[in-house]
Symmetry: C2
Subunit: 336 residues, 2 copies
C-alpha cells in the first residue's frame, strides 16, 4: 500500500506523521482551536497536503476538550467534520479508547470513545515492542502514564475524567502549564510565599530558566507576549509572587523555578508509583513527548530502567501521531 498519515488534533497543536515503507515525515503545527475553530479544516488540509497524498489518514484528537465546544460530542463531531472536509474522499479511520480504528460514521455514534483517545495509540505501539512497560508521555500540558503488562494496555480509566481520577492522566506539562496551578506556595528568602493566581508565567518559563529546554523548544506563546528568553522568563516568574526583577535577584527567581520543577516531578513520580501497581514486574519506563527529560528523571527515582521506542526523537515527541501511523499501516495492510 501507499503512504498513511497519523493525525493527532490537539487543542493547541496539530501533529502529523507520514509513513510509507521506511520513510517517515513529522510535522507539528501550532493551532489553537479555541481562537478560530472555523479554520480547522483549512489547517488540516494544509498539514495533510504538505506531507503527501496518503492512501488513508488515521485520526485521534484531544481538541474536543477545548471550550470552543459546549460538549465533547459537539467537539468530536466538529473535528470529524473538519477532517472529512479536509480529506475530500481520502480514506479516514478514527481511533477509539479501546484501540479500534473506526470509520467516521461509527465514530460519530460513540463520541465518548473517540474523545481524547490519543494515549491509546502510543500505548499500543509500545506494547508491540515492550510487553512489560510503563509509558510516561510528558507533553506541553499533560502527562499520560500507561501501564502495559503481558502485552496488554491495563488502564483503569478511559475517559479524561476517569483517567484524571485514576492518576493515568496528570494535568501538568513542560510548556503551557500555569505555574500558579503547580504549587500554592513557593520558596522566597527562607520562607514560603503564596502565589498570585494570575497567568503570569508557565512551565516553559521554569524549564527555560533551568536549561531543560532552549528558546527554540518554547513552542507556545509567552504569557506577557515578550520573548522566550531566560531574561524575560525570570521577569515572568518573579510576577508569580507579585514581585519584579528589581525586588528578586536571578538566584532567588531560579530557586522558585527549581522548586516548581521538583513539584512537577513529585506529582508525576507519585502517579507513576500508583500506575506501577498495575504492573506484574519491575518494568522499564518508556519516555515519550517533548518533556521526555522529566519522564527519565522519574524513572531514575523509581529505580527502573528506560527503554526507547525505535523511533526518531521527532517521532517520539509526537508519539500518538507516530504510533497511529504505524498502527494504521499495519492494520490496513493486514486487511488488504
Amino acid at each position: 500500500m501507499g503512504g498513511v498519515i497519523g493525525l493527532d488534533v490537539g487543542g493547541a497543536n496539530t501533529k502529523a506523521v507520514w509513513r510509507e515503507g521506511d520513510e517517515r515525515r513529522v510535522l507539528s503545527r501550532p493551532f489553537e482551536v479555541w481562537r478560530d475553530r472555523e479554520a480547522l479544516a483549512a489547517v488540516l488540509r494544509e498539514v495533510v497536503g504538505s506531507l503527501g497524498e496518503p492512501e488513508a489518514v488515521a485520526l485521534t484528537m484531544t481538541a474536543e476538550l477545548s471550550d470552543a465546544f459546549r460538549t465533547k460530542r459537539e467537539g468530536v463531531n466538529f473535528v470529524l467534520d473538519a477532517a472529512e472536509a479536509a480529506l475530500a474522499g481520502t480514506r479516514l479511520v478514527v481511533l477509539n479508547t479501546v484501540g479500534e480504528l473506526l470509520d467516521a460514521d461509527s465514530a460519530r455514534e460513540r463520541p465518548s470513545e473517540i474523545a481524547a483517545a490519543n494515549w491509546m495509540a502510543s500505548a499500543l505501539a509500545i506494547a508491540v515492542h515492550f510487553p512489560e512497560a510503563l509509558m510516561i508521555d510528558v507533553g506541553g500540558t499533560t502527562v499520560d502514564l500507561i501501564p502495559i503488562a503481558g502485552g496488554d494496555v491495563v488502564v483503569r480509566g478511559r475517559t479524561d475524567l476517569a483517567r484524571l481520577m485514576s492518576g493515568e492522566l496528570v494535568y501538568t506539562g513542560v510548556l503551557r502549564t500555569n505555574l500558579a496551578a503547580i504549587a500554592a506556595h513557593v520558596p522566597v528568602r527562607g520562607g514560603w510565599c503564596p502565589v498570585a493566581s494570575e497567568l503570569f508565567a508557565i512551565s516553559a518559563d521554569a524549564h527555560l530558566i533551568l536549561g531543560h529546554i532552549g528558546t527554540g523548544e518554547y513552542a507556545c506563546p509567552t504569557p506577557d507576549g515578550r520573548p522566550a528568553t531566560v531574561e524575560f522568563a525570570r521577569e515572568r516568574v518573579a510576577r508569580l509572587v507579585c514581585a519584579d526583577v528589581e525586588q528578586l535577584g536571578a538566584a532567588e527567581i531560579d530557586a522558585i523555578a527549581a522548586y516548581l520543577y521538583s513539584e512537577q516531578l513529585r506529582l508525576v513520580e507519585a502517579a507513576a508509583r500508583d500506575a506501577g501497581t498495575q504492573l506484574t514486574a519491575l518494568a522499564p519506563v518508556v519516555p515519550l513527548g517533548s518533556g521526555a527529560f522529566l519522564a527519565r528523571e522519574v524513572a531514575e527515582r523509581l529505580g527502573v530502567g528506560v527503554r526507547d521506542l525505535p523511533w526518531s526523537e521527532a517521532e517520539r515527541a509526537v508519539a500518538p501521531a507516530a504510533a497511529l501511523a504505524e498502527l494504521a499501516a499495519d492494520r490496513l495492510r493486514a486487511r488488504c
Copy 2:
C-alpha cells in the same frame, strides 16, 4: 473646597468616587490595562470627565503589577504619566503605603511605596470610624486583610510580596480567580479528582452557580466567551475536571462549586485568624468589596461581630476609591 475624586487604577478595572460635601458619585469602568495600555490616559480622562471637574484627584493603583510592564517602576511611572496627561493641570496627589498623599514628582522617586497602596486608603478610612477592627476587603481577584489596633494600621507587610508572605494579601477573589488555582482536587462522585490546569472556569462561575452573585454582578469576561448564566457556568465548571454536562449532572457540578467556595473560605479564615493575632482585642470585621458576603461568612466563623462603614453599598464595593476621596477631601481641606 470643590469636588475631589478618589481614583483606583487596577489591572482590570478603574474605580472612581466623586465627593463634594455630602454628594457622592461612584463609577467602575472595566479596562484591562494589559490589553491596550496606551489607551489608559483616554480611559482616565473619560472616567474623571464623566464625574465632574474636580479640584483635586487622589490616585492609587494596582495596575503596575500587570505584565504590560516589565517592572513595577515602569508601571508606576506609566500610570502617573497617564494620569497627568488625563488631568491636564488638575491637582494630582498620590497615596503611598505609609498613608501619605504625595505629589507626582515625589511619587516617582519612590515607586515601591506607590505600587499597590490601595489597601492603605481603605484601612485609614476604617481607622477613623473603628479604632479596633479587622478589615476584610474581598475583591474580584484578591483579598486584603488589615488589622487596625488603637486607631493605627498595624500591618506586617507593605509591598505585595511582603503582604503575600504575611498573609495580609490573599490572592483569591470572587470573580476572576482561575478555579484551577483554588484547589488541586475537587470532589467527584465520592472521590477526589485532580483539576485541569487550564483557564476553563473562574470563581465568578462558582459564585453564580451558588447564588452568591447574579448575572449582573459577573463583572468580567467569561473564560469561554459564552454568557454569564448558571447554565453556561455549569459547562465551564464541568470542564475543570475534563468533563461536560453530558457526563456530570447539575448536582455533581454544583458540589464542585460548593467545595471551591469552602476552600476560599478556609483560606481567608486562616488568614483572618493570623491577622487577628495583631489585634489587642476581639475586634469586629469590617467587610468591604464586591465579595463582602465572603468576609461576613468569615466573621461568623471567627465568632466576631460585623461593622459597616457609613457608606453606600456602591462605595463599599470600591472601597479604596471611596476612602481616598474621603481622605483627600479631609487632608486638602485641612491645608486650605
